[in-house]
């Protein structure tokens, strides 16, 4: 089926991905409890690149594994995420544009903790090749 004929519609939400946040850089730099607390954090924040990974997994689930051929993501880490929090990556379709090889989909993306507080937000895009359904 031609995805440009249907495809995701503006305002449509992607299937979210939820992970329990882990400190993948424990003890390094700001990712140490004592050091982070001295500098005003509640504890060691989870690395932004780990939150980035959760959002990418959501994008791969939607666009497929070829998202890395031309996909992009731009995120600001707006609030610290802490170990053990359930972090959910979410996205909503902001725009879509037909291209020769498929449908380029533009998204607003974010990650939020279980209280609904955004820990990262930004934009992403990727190509849904003709013939592929998300």
């Amino acid at each position: 089926m031609d995805v440009t004929a249907r495809g995701p519609q503006v305002g449509e939400e992607l299937e979210p991905v939820t992970r329990v946040a882990r400190n993948t850089a424990r003890g390094k730099g700001i990712h140490d409890d004592t050091r982070a607390q001295t500098l005003g954090f509640e504890g060691a924040p989870v690395p932004g690149v780990t939150i980035f990974a959760y959002v990418i997994d959501m994008l791969i689930g939607f666009f497929g594994e070829d998202w890395t051929d031309g996909g992009d993501m731009d995120m600001a880490f707006t609030s610290p995420a802490y170990v053990g929090q359930r972090i959910t990556a979410r996205a909503i379709v902001r725009d879509r544009k037909e291209e020769d090889s498929g449908l380029r989909v533009f998204l607003d993306v974010w990650a939020e903790n279980e209280e609904g507080r955004k820990v990262a937000s930004g934009t992403a895009s990727g190509l849904l090749p003709t013939g592929r359904q998300p």
């Binding site: 992970r19 329990v20 882990r22 993948t24 003890g27 730099g29 700001i30 140490d32 004592t34 050091r35 001295t38 500098l39 005003g40 954090f41 924040p45 690395p47 932004g48 690149v49 780990t50 980035f52 990974a53 959760y54 990418i56 997994d57 791969i60 594994e65 998202w67 890395t68 051929d69 031309g70 996909g71 992009d72 993501m73 731009d74 995120m75 600001a76 880490f77 930004g122």
Partner: protein
């Protein structure tokens, strides 16, 4: 764990901020991600079903794309150490933003070569920031990812700074 003192952190960040110059080049920096690295990464982020460890259509294994995300951090840290020498306490910064454009799968077992450039520095909300752009290619010169990362040099605010 190294002790940190907010006042000293601010002094170090201010010194680094003055020394950093837009156009300043960082690297090159090289790494090879092995299959063991990829499995360790999957375990570290709590990924129970790593899609990137299944064989791709071309038959090769891939890294999780986010495995390239720390490259510019490592490059920036290396440059920071070079510029600041061996201070009594390390400067503790925060990764504030990341913009990545992927140009192909991140290969396993191939050399990746990254080069960065400082493209901007600014003070906002009483804090020092630097922006670094990085181009990462594989050993055959194919572009893998282009990134732009923003680093908060220290979370400690500059007293009296209105910016």
């Amino acid at each position: 764990m190294d002790e940190v003192d907010p006042q000293q952190q601010l002094e170090l960040a201010g010194r680094l901020y003055e020394m950093l110059q837009p156009g300043q080049e960082l690297g090159p920096w090289e790494t090879v991600f092995t299959e063991e690295d990829v499995r360790a990464y999957a375990a570290a982020i709590g990924d129970d079903d790593p899609w990137y460890l299944r064989r791709s259509a071309s038959g090769g294994l891939r890294c999780h794309p986010a495995m390239t995300a720390p490259i510019s951090i490592w490059l920036f840290q290396e440059e920071r150490h070079r510029m600041l020498g061996e201070p009594a306490q390390p400067l503790v910064g925060v990764h504030a933003a990341a913009c990545h454009h992927y140009l192909g799968p991140v290969p396993v077992g191939k050399r990746l070569i990254a080069r960065s450039k400082v493209t901007d520095k600014y003070i906002r909300r009483q804090r020092y920031y630097a922006v670094v752009e990085t181009r990462t290619v594989d050993e055959e010169g194919r572009d893998v990812v282009h990134s732009r990362d923003t680093f908060l040099l220290t979370p400690v605010r500059i007293p009296g700074e209105a910016g």
